[in-house]
């Protein structure tokens, strides 16, 4: 029995080696609707998944969507487990020290979400004394640590934004900061509608919040970067981008 299991394990690892010519596109294993979330059958669907398909088609690449744990996704890229990250990762200077990015493919504002009926806006004064929740290893965590942590009662970090939203609905945290589009998906759900609302957009800080979301690449992969940039440009020009966006959102999320 052990032998069979061992042989199966070896076969699995070598079987994957035979497909090494693919471009493995890493996405976050944690659900992040409406960009990428698994459904009951395990397949990932969402705006970002569709964009990955469109970009790969335009760049004539054979892409394999590979879910990776969010907080290990950059090491997974640098160690070669995946070849590209398209997981709503913002282009920040801090990340540019370790990896490279393609051109941005969307840019949405960052908002503070809090309980209904509570007076709050997205300023440090208003958030003083509150308990703020953020997803670990995101630009939002960095932003909250820089601007709100000094005055806040406590900053709690979660493995997924869903867990932070869950605690917001349960009342364990007073506010959470996240991407406006992702939060809108939560606020459209039953739990979200009952409990919370958007309180305001945070003041911009391009250094921390980055200049939009781009595809993460290893440093030095200029050929792949060129192909991805050309593909992004192409799908924006030929209307594929807008067609996909129309399926999920009321307006363009490309940003400025």
């Amino acid at each position: 029995m052990k032998k069979i299991a061992l042989a199966a394990a070896l076969a699995l690892s070598f079987g994957s080696a035979a497909l090494a010519q693919q471009v493995k596109v890493g996405i976050a294993a944690e659900p992040y609707p409406p960009f990428a979330a698994p459904d009951a059958s395990g397949a990932y669907t969402g705006w970002e998944v569709d964009i990955i398909g469109a970009v790969c088609k335009a760049a004539a690449l054979d892409c394999a969507i590979t879910p990776v744990a969010w907080d290990g996704i950059i090491p997974a890229l640098t160690s070669g487990q995946i070849d590209m990250i398209m997981a709503s990762m913002s282009i920040t200077d801090e990340r540019l020290k370790t990896i490279d990015f393609s051109d941005k493919y969307y840019n949405t504002p960052t908002v503070i979400v809090g309980a209904k009926g509570v007076q709050m806006d997205a300023t440090p004064e208003s958030l003083a004394g509150k308990i703020i929740g953020v997803q670990v290893s995101t630009i939002h965590e960095a932003y909250v640590q820089k601007y709100f942590a000094a005055g806040a009662a406590e900053v709690k970090t979660y493995q997924t934004q869903d867990e932070a939203n869950q605690d917001l609905a349960a009342g364990r945290i007073d506010a959470t900061q996240a991407d406006s589009v992702a939060e809108q998906a939560f606020l459209d759900s039953e739990a979200g509608k009952a409990c919370c609302e958007i309180k305001g957009t945070v003041a911009d800080d391009a250094e921390i919040l980055g200049k939009g979301v781009g595809a993460g690449l290893r440093k030095g992969e200029d050929e792949l970067k060129g192909k991805i940039n050309a593909a992004i440009k192409q799908i924006r020009e030929d209307g594929t981008y807008d067609a996909i966006t129309a399926k999920y959102f009321a307006m363009s999320i490309y940003g400025n």
Binding site: T157, D167, R172, C195
Partner: protein, 258 residues
């Protein structure tokens, strides 16, 4: 001491020291110098330690009645105790933690008046859930250990006490319990180490323990291995302390079997 001076040991120790020095020289340790990270690390270690101590104490206090119920109790006490221990030992601690924190949390919005109740400040924070989950886990595993310990005390002693007319509670207090505790003392150190290794799981319910601090440093600086190495060293140091403490404890209570 002679043991350590054998030639092959000296060579191995020399290699180990060289490895440590090489790590200290070539890897990135600049993050250790930052005061904000130093404060976080100290706070994280403190949280790990107090959670370990509190849950071990509460867990052992629960484990004694659980073990006793299984060893000598009537069926209506023994069966639930057995079921409890089976469930705790049969499911991952991570799941128990999440069930308490997120599972109960998802029920909060449907309970009216909860936010005004006395319990609310405790239900809001994460540490009560960690303490409850870990204590129940200790109780489940140690309850099994205590069951074996209670059963292992020679029955003759208990019968003799009964024949002498000793009241049941006095017999328990004077003969059964001390001997059972004496039997488990050698394994208690090992069990504490196992509990220590379970504490990193509380980082998944927002408690900033040592593991969470290392994770935060890794994410801020994008360094992959060095914080993990520091983490391993910290846990090994705490393990060493626990082992030494229990060895000293055991030497204070010399083993005298009947």
């Amino acid at each position: 001491m002679r043991d350590w001076l054998q030639p092959h040991r000296v060579v191995l120790i020399g290699l180990a020291v060289a490895l440590v020095l090489a790590c200290a020289w070539f890897l990135r340790w600049d993050w250790l110098a930052e005061p904000k990270y130093q404060l976080l690390i100290v706070q994280g270690i403190w949280r790990t330690l107090w959670i370990l101590v509190v849950t071990m104490v509460i867990g052992m206090l629960l484990a004694v009645p659980l073990g006793l119920a299984q060893a000598a109790g009537p069926w209506y006490l023994a069966a639930p105790a057995r079921a409890f221990c089976s469930v705790i030992r049969g499911t991952p601690l991570l799941l128990q933690l999440w069930l308490l924190y997120y599972g109960l949390g998802s029920l909060f919005p449907s309970i009216p008046g909860l936010r005004e109740s006395v319990l609310w400040p405790y239900l809001r924070q994460a540490w009560p859930y960690a303490v409850v989950a870990l204590s129940l886990s200790v109780a489940g595993y140690e309850g099994e250990v205590m069951r074996g310990a209670f059963k292992g005390v020679p029955h003759g002693q208990l019968e003799a006490a009964k024949a002498m007319g000793m009241p049941r509670f006095t017999m328990f207090r004077r003969i059964w319990l001390p001997q059972a505790l004496h039997r488990v003392l050698p394994t208690l150190g090992g069990e504490t180490v196992l509990q220590l290794k379970a504490t990193p799981l509380v980082s998944t319910i927002t408690i900033m323990d040592t593991y969470a601090v290392a994770g935060r440093i890794r994410q801020d600086t994008f360094i992959v291995y060095e914080p993990l190495l520091m983490l391993a060293v910290v846990y090994m140091a705490i393990t060493g302390l626990i082992v030494l403490m229990f060895r000293w404890f055991e030497s204070r209570f010399p083993s005298k079997s009947a």
